[in-house]
């Protein structure tokens, strides 16, 4: 059920930490190498920005990056206290922090736990040393396993692991072994991303110059199929294109995005979606800090969507979830009926077996998931 309140009041708060120990080869996130003095000013700026958006009825908080745990304990602590003192913590149902192996120990884990964090997303990406090397990760397989147990022992009973597949040189067998290994850790949630070679990344350059072979699409497809079957059979429900969860452990924060409901983002480059307007903060870290320090807004971009565009976006995001969208809810959120906007397209895609309608829900079939982008394009 969607509440009217959900449509107008943001339930989700995202906090961006744009620092990493070292940049990974495939990464195009807004992040740079951690410098302690910049981070101190940054956290102070975050605190200030948070002060302006603290009064919304948030139910989820997500601190992502970058690598939040790349920061020194003091800085991390300062951030966590700022969050817990500004927000009404009793209402926060899900509070996630992204952690990378190699940046966490028992003390940091405890710090997070005391700070009210109840969910960790651990970026393991691969258990294969050749994969970790190719992806330019800072940690080994051992570090990853250690990090996981440190977090478990630190009292986290909602752990998610990120994995990447489809990198150059990875065989289907390599991937099956990674999947088996991750199951042995028994996390509550799993994200398995097919590698995208983003423009401008070191990896893209390596592929262009030929020092790394281009990942093969057919084998990526085989791996994706394998992932879905394997995890589904082992108690992890495929609920979004790249996300799997045990019962009751879907990521509420991300589901809010896929429902195209409002949210607030703070920090460099963070995006907010409020009152039908999408805005984003300046990406450059120092410019962000300077603007906030000077008492100015950090926003540099804003768009107000036309009702049609918003409807298209709502559908585009909702179809990422295997449950799709209830026709009724689409109407509540957009003011249009699915029929009036897309009747013909939907019929055509259903005939092709790429979409289905069940109990009033429109969703992508398994076959449709593999070509989700092409399907979504039909709705734009």
């Amino acid at each position: 059920m969607i509440m009217q309140r959900e449509l107008t009041h943001p339930n989700a708060l995202y906090i961006h930490i744009p620092f990493c120990i070292k940049r990974c080869s495939y990464c195009d996130f807004n992040s740079s190498v951690y410098q302690p003095d910049v981070a101190s000013r940054y956290v102070a700026a975050l605190e200030k920005e948070l002060g302006g958006v603290k009064d919304h009825p948030y139910k989820t908080v997500y601190i992502g990056g970058g690598t939040p745990t790349a920061m020194k304990e003091g800085q991390l602590n300062q951030l966590l206290s700022a969050v817990s003192s500004s927000l009404d913590m009793r209402r926060i149902k899900e509070y996630t922090v992204e952690v990378n192996p190699g940046t966490v120990n028992a003390r940091k884990a405890a710090l997070l736990r005391w700070g009210g964090v109840n969910r960790i997303s651990l970026g393991i990406q691969s258990f294969k040393e050749k994969g970790l090397r190719l992806l330019g990760r800072i940690h080994s397989r051992r570090d990853a396993l250690d990090a996981f147990s440190v977090l478990r022992e630190g009292g986290f009973n909602n752990l998610s692991v990120d994995l990447i597949f489809g990198w150059s040189g990875q065989t289907l067998m390599d991937w099956e072994e990674d999947l088996t290994e991750v199951l042995s850790l028994d996390p509550e949630h799993l994200s398995a991303y097919c590698l995208t070679v983003e423009r401008g990344t070191p990896l893209a350059r390596q592929i262009r110059t030929g020092s790394v072979p281009r990942p093969d699409e057919e084998s990526q497809l085989d791996m994706l199929k394998k992932t879905i079957n394997f995890l589904d059979n082992n108690g992890y429900k495929h609920y979004e294109i790249s996300n799997f969860a045990k019962k009751g452990y879907r990521c509420r924060h991300n589901v809010n995005y896929w429902k195209n409901l409002p949210y607030v983002g703070i920090g460099a480059g963070a995006v907010s979606y409020l009152n039908g307007r999408r805005t984003s903060n300046i990406r450059d870290i120092l410019s962000y800090i300077e603007r906030i320090e000077a008492g100015r807004s950090a926003k540099t971009f804003g768009e107000r969507l036309t009702p049609r565009r918003r409807a298209a976006e709502t559908l585009m995001m909702a179809l990422r979830m295997t449950s799709g969208i209830k026709e009724k809810n689409f109407t509540v959120r957009t003011g249009f009926t699915l029929r009036e906007l897309y009747g013909d397209v939907i019929d055509r895609l259903c005939v092709l077996g790429l979409m289905g309608i069940r109990q009033g829900r429109l969703y992508l079939t398994r076959k449709g998931v593999f070509v989700a982008d092409s399907v979504m394009m039909e709705f734009l």
Binding site: Y14, T196, L224, L380
Partner: protein, 600 residues
């Protein structure tokens, strides 16, 4: 000006042999324009043509030159230099008494040199042979002069040696123009007879008519009469090109210039027509020359229906300035409403299409070009078709005829084998070999126009490492064993992809075509089947497997805008394609019908 002091001439040359450069030097030497103004090549003044280095529109310039105390009026009439435009050369030649035949001292005689020289001889022009670029290190003027002697019977001692770049010999060229080309032989007292050799549309003044006066004279205020179109106009301005339009008192016998007369559309002016005085009409029109007939046709369709009207407006505007371009509305079952357009040749077609996209701002689908065919029906009727779709049912065809050209190819002897092979693959029938010199040879073939028009020139260039050149003249229609090759996409015949081909080639052609289409058409969400058929018989089949994977792995709050924009952009790209049924077909696919004999 006393007609004895007038000389009317043009420069004929193979492309890049230095015609424009020589024209610049002549303008400069006679102080017609200053060197600074010359920075831009004055004779070709359309962007597109400058980019391609091809003069398309004939234009003219008057040079005033004093020798031995006597002032002469030298009228230089520009000619196009590409094979497609050989008909257009005629219009310039008809206005002249002489021609400078310009040959590059390092390249030697080329196909267009020969073709244009013959044209000039047919028009009884005095030929002044000129060897250009003698400053080049690799210049071999002696050999080149020998080639000229051999092919065209030119006397070596008559050849003027110049460097259009350095200005060497320019004085001699001007001398030869005065001494060797005879002055116009008109009758000053007779009623006006002026040949229209070009026209141009000006938004403010209407049509500007380029004329060469043969008899009598023309003044502002005269009422003139077009003998062929039978229209009367009142002249509001006459003048000469110096090189800009310069109003004058009158245009006298033998002179070249322009007049303006409130003429609204270019259709009112026919190139080759004779202008006479309305009150005192001449008995006979001038011989004129044949209007160039379009040789190649294609369909132009807007990718979006809403662009139909803008496209028509753009075509109309284009036709105003280009009398050799024609168009008429047509309807294609696959592509909807569009236009069938006629061109002199393939290059002409490309230029027109570019200009349309650039100036008209419309996205176009161009169908494969076709020549015109003659069909004798069982009922004894002769149909002329330029669109395969308009072909009558096979059982009503008594005889199928296609246009044939005489083609002359000049190249270094060592390429004899490959060139002959190329010509024979294209159904050429051998006519003659002629040695221009020890090293270079000219082959003549008769070849179906359809085989030569599409990529023969490119193929020749690559087979001869750029040394081969060609020129062709239309000789007539010949009976041939032709069939229509249809293409079906998703089971539906796409009329715009149909072509008429020789029966012997149909099978191989069909196979190649479907292969090629398989590469050009992007993957869809479903399987796309492509078939080639003759009548109801399928002769080739390929299929495009459905798209298998296209999915963004990560998409959270911060990614939505970027993601949507990306998809929107891809969607925009699809708009350049034409959808037939639910298959999106890109422009390239329609053009793939063109490449005739690829061995891919």
């Amino acid at each position: 000006m006393d007609t004895k002091r007038i000389r009317n001439f043009c420069i004929i040359a193979h492309i890049d042999h230095g015609k424009s450069t020589l024209a610049d030097r002549l303008l400069e030497h006679t102080n017609t324009v200053s060197p600074r103004e010359l920075k831009e090549q004055v004779l070709d003044d359309m962007d597109l043509e400058r980019e391609r280095g091809i003069t398309i529109k004939a234009s003219a310039v008057t040079l005033l030159y004093t020798r031995d105390g006597k002032e002469y009026m030298l009228n230089l009439i520009d000619t196009p230099g590409h094979v497609d435009f050989s008909y257009e050369v005629s219009r310039s030649l008809a206005a002249c008494e002489g021609a400078l035949l310009l040959v590059d001292a390092s390249q030697g005689v080329e196909a267009q040199t020969v073709a244009n020289a013959y044209l000039a001889l047919e028009h009884n022009l005095e030929i002044v042979p000129v060897v250009n670029k003698v400053d080049l290190q690799q210049a071999r003027p002696e050999d080149v002069i020998e080639e000229m002697e051999h092919t065209l019977g030119i006397l070596p001692r008559e050849v003027v040696r110049v460097s259009a770049k350095t200005g060497l010999g320019i004085e001699d060229v001007l001398g030869a123009v005065i001494d060797r080309i005879h002055p116009p032989k008109g009758d000053t007292a007779a009623p006006l007879r002026a040949l229209i050799f070009d026209s141009e549309y000006d938004e403010y003044r209407g049509v500007i008519v380029y004329v060469r006066i043969f008899d009598g004279s023309m003044r502002r205020g005269d009422r003139v009469y077009m003998m062929k179109t039978k229209r009367m106009f009142e002249v509001t301005e006459v003048g000469i090109f110096g090189p800009r339009m310069t109003p004058a008192e009158r245009l006298g016998t033998g002179e070249v210039g322009y007049f303006v007369a409130n003429i609204k559309t270019i259709q009112d002016v026919e190139i080759g027509d004779t202008v006479t005085n309305f009150n005192e009409k001449a008995q006979e029109p001038l011989p004129g020359y044949r209007k160039p007939l379009p040789m190649v046709y294609c369909g132009l369709y807007p990718t979006m229906d809403t662009d139909l009207v803008p496209l028509r407006v753009a075509l109309e505007k284009l036709a105003l300035n280009d009398s050799s371009f024609s168009f008429e509305p047509e309807q294609s079952p696959a592509l909807g409403f569009g236009f069938r357009c006629g061109f002199l040749g393939l290059l002409h077609m490309e230029i027109v299409q570019e200009r349309l996209e650039r100036e008209g701002n419309v996205n176009l689908i161009q169908t494969a070009p076709s020549v015109t065919y003659e069909i004798l029906t069982t009922g004894g009727q002769v149909l002329v078709i330029s669109n395969p779709d308009k072909m009558p049912p096979v059982n009503e065809i008594e005889e199928f005829r296609e246009p044939v050209v005489n083609i002359k190819i000049i190249f270094p002897v060592e390429y004899m084998g490959v060139v002959m092979k190329l010509a024979e693959e294209r159904r050429g029938s051998y006519k003659a070999t002629e040695y221009l010199s020890q090293r270079r040879v000219m082959l003549s073939y008769e070849l179906p126009l359809a085989e030569m028009i599409f990529d023969f020139h490119d193929k020749l260039k690559s087979a001869t490492r750029g040394y081969g050149t060609l020129d062709y003249t239309f000789i007539g229609y010949r009976t041939s064993n032709l069939v229509r090759l249809d293409i079906l996409i998703g089971g539906k015949t796409v009329d715009a992809l149909s072509s008429i081909v020789h029966r012997d080639n149909a099978y191989a052609r069909g196979k190649r075509l479907v292969k090629k289409l398989r590469r050009e058409i992007p993957r869809h969400l479903f399987e796309v089947v492509i078939q080639a058929a003759i009548g109801s018989r399928i002769i080739a089949r390929e299929s495009i497997k459905p798209m298998r994977k296209n999915v963004t792995a990560k998409c959270y709050g911060g990614d939505v805008t970027r993601k949507r924009k990306l998809l929107e952009k891809q969607k925009e790209g699809k708009k350049r394609m034409k959808s037939i049924g639910s298959v999106e077909i890109p422009q390239e696919a329609f053009l793939s019908v063109m490449a005739t004999n690829d061995n891919e």
